[in-house]
Amino acid sequence: MLDLLNTALIGPLRDMGGSPAFLVEVIIGGLAAGLMYSLVALGFVLIYKASGVFNFAQGVMVLFAALTLVGLMERGAPLALALLATALVMGALAFAIERVVLRPLVNQEQIILFMATIGLNFFLEGLGELAWGSNVKRLDVGIPDTSFMVWGVQINRLELTAAITAAVMVAVIAVFFQRTRIGRALRAVADDHEAALSIGIPLNTIWIVVWAAAGLVSIVAGIMWGAKSGVQFSLSLIALKALPVLILGGFTSVPGAIVGGLIIGVGEKIGEVYWGPLVGGAIENWFAYVLALAFLLVRPQGLFGEKIIERV
């Protein structure tokens, strides 16, 4: 028994203490990875916060944005022009989604809207591959994926850029929601579609704005992840890694997406590096979910989520 405790608890802890520089690297790596997850989670949060829809297609939107960007760049467009064009495409996509999918399903239950996004997921998957092909594409936005050393700790340039971008984006979004009129309108819509309609909030416009914003977030996430691993189909699977971030941070909280991401990132890496070898490795996937689950049991709405008020 004591032996088990020793291997399970003392061993890894001693391991951590034994090489602190490495521990710092693991933590930094975890923070960086976590921020990358947060980028994807932000898209989810935006849409859920403002329209109450759990957008299953967020991962595919990230992929679609990245594909469009790379596709345009491959056809010779310079980066700035390609970015602009992609933003327009995502905006047009938002418009189309609102028109075709969301408007007919106004005020349906959450699970119905969720299903609609699943249908959207399949549709965009097929469309993306049809339009841009299924090869792996290299995404070069001028940020080298190399590392430099700071005080004995290795830091990756690309991840640093992603972290800074994420921080900036979160700040912008937070200000947007709290301080602007549209932000208030968005929060009203998320609360109750019909009530918002009744006080004159233009639902359709709001939804287009929200999905377009999520589209822009997808572009950023797509760039970061695409630069990291090439633009290809598996990019859409990142959404699965972002879900624990969402449940930990709360579905409706922008800062929650960041904090959740950081916690999940660090937790995942520390778990994998120090406890993973004890059980044979590759525990990252479920460890993140179990971590999020543990938090949920203490706070069922996530760390920063809106407190669930239940009425009889």
């Binding site: 609609a116 699943i118 449940i247």
Partner: protein, 358 residues
């Protein structure tokens, strides 16, 4: 006019409370069963049986289980793949450890094991609700698959890391293994799903089903009037996981023949959830309709170009298939958000009045 109930009088409570009170319904169901049992094995060729009907029946059973949990008890679960894996691996270990055990009994025991596992992973539902619970069940999905991948005992230390269904007979007829004919496997799957459908239908019409629906609709109010959430939710998870476990065992033993953990990954969980939602949450028939839709539509879309004589490159075909599939889901949701079962119900209502509009 077709559906005239005039002249059908019930003379006992039992007949009034029957599952199919209208005689036309009973006739249709009986004919359907006869067709399914006798006509289909005779008419269908091996491709249809192997690639369409057997998976349809297996997925129906899984969708049935999930529908009980999500549709009737309101607990959204994305761990279906993991539970099917539990059923499959349990059945594999049981048939391996007890070679003389009847394979159907092995299925049921595997279901029992899955029920226990399901109850364990269903415990968070007491504290977490809605989409949060759905995402939390993903923890069980990933953990279970990792477990089966990691611990070699589950695959009997096979170097290949896969489980293979051993050849087994029931009453002298080969039911599993490569020598089992598609017809026999089809009939076995049909029998199992029919039995479970009957059980499920009776469950949801009785006290248990009503307590589930109470928890689903207003769980605090339900608790106040005496429906015990722990017991009800655990029962929902148990029975649902039982069916899903049996479906998982069937998946390997009657359909695939051998499987690795990738066969039960998250796509399966999502697929079964789609079936339940498209078919109709809270409807036994809906599980079947949803499973049929999800199984048939891709196959139909794959075969249509051949029919029309259009020679499309396979990649383009697949991509268009995906787009049409997604489009169809959205279309059905807009046309009828409550699923195909509701469409069927509306159809029946209209049939009762036809040719009058109302």
């Amino acid at each position: 006019m077709i559906y005239r109930e005039a002249g059908q009088f019930k003379s006992s409570y039992a007949s009034d409370q029957a599952v199919f009170p209208i005689r036309q319904d009973r006739v249709v169901v009986a004919l359907g069963l006869v067709a399914a049992v006798i006509a289909v094995p005779l008419v269908a060729d091996e491709y249809w049986l192997q690639a369409v009907l057997i998976p349809f029946l297996i997925y129906s059973l899984a969708a049935l289980g999930l529908n009980l949990l999500t549709g009737y008890a309101g607990q959204v679960s994305l761990g279906t793949g993991g539970f099917m894996a539990v059923g499959a691996y349990s059945a594999f270990k049981l048939t391996g450890a007890f070679p003389g055990l009847n394979v159907l009994v092995a299925f049921l025991l595997a279901g029992l094991i899955t029920a226990l596992v399901g109850m364990l992973f269903g415990l968070p539902s007491l504290r977490i609700k809605g989409f949060y619970l759905a995402v939390a069940t993903l923890a069980s999905q990933f953990f279970l698959l990792w477990l089966f991948n990691k611990v070699a005992w589950f695959t009997d230390y096979a170097s290949s890391g896969t489980i293979t269904a051993p050849p087994r007979t029931v009453a002298g007829i080969m039911v599993t293994g490569p020598a089992a004919t598609a017809e026999i496997r089809y009939l076995t799957a049909l029998a199992l799903v029919a039995v479970f459908a009957v059980i499920a239908k009776n469950l949801v019409r009785g006290r248990v089903g009503r307590s589930w629906m109470a928890i689903r609709d207003r769980d605090i109010a339900a608790e106040i009037i005496g429906v015990r959430p722990l017991r009800t939710k655990m029962l929902a998870f148990a029975i649902s996981s039982f069916m899903i476990g049996v479906a998982g065992a069937e998946y390997v033993f009657l359909y695939l023949g051998s499987a690795e953990t990738l066969a039960f990954d998250i796509n399966v969980s999502f697929l079964v959830l789609f079936m339940v939602i498209i078919g109709g949450l809270g409807s036994i028939l809906g599980s079947f309709l949803g499973a049929g839709f999800i199984v048939m539509v891709p196959i139909f879309l794959t075969n249509v170009p051949h029919l029309v004589g259009l020679a499309m490159p396979v990649a383009l075909q697949k991509q268009i298939e995906l787009m049409v599939f997604g489009g169809l889901i959205i279309f059905f949701l807009i046309a009828e958000p409550h699923g195909l079962a509701r469409l069927w119900q509306i159809g029946k209502e209209k049939l009762r009045l036809w040719p009058f509009p109302y």
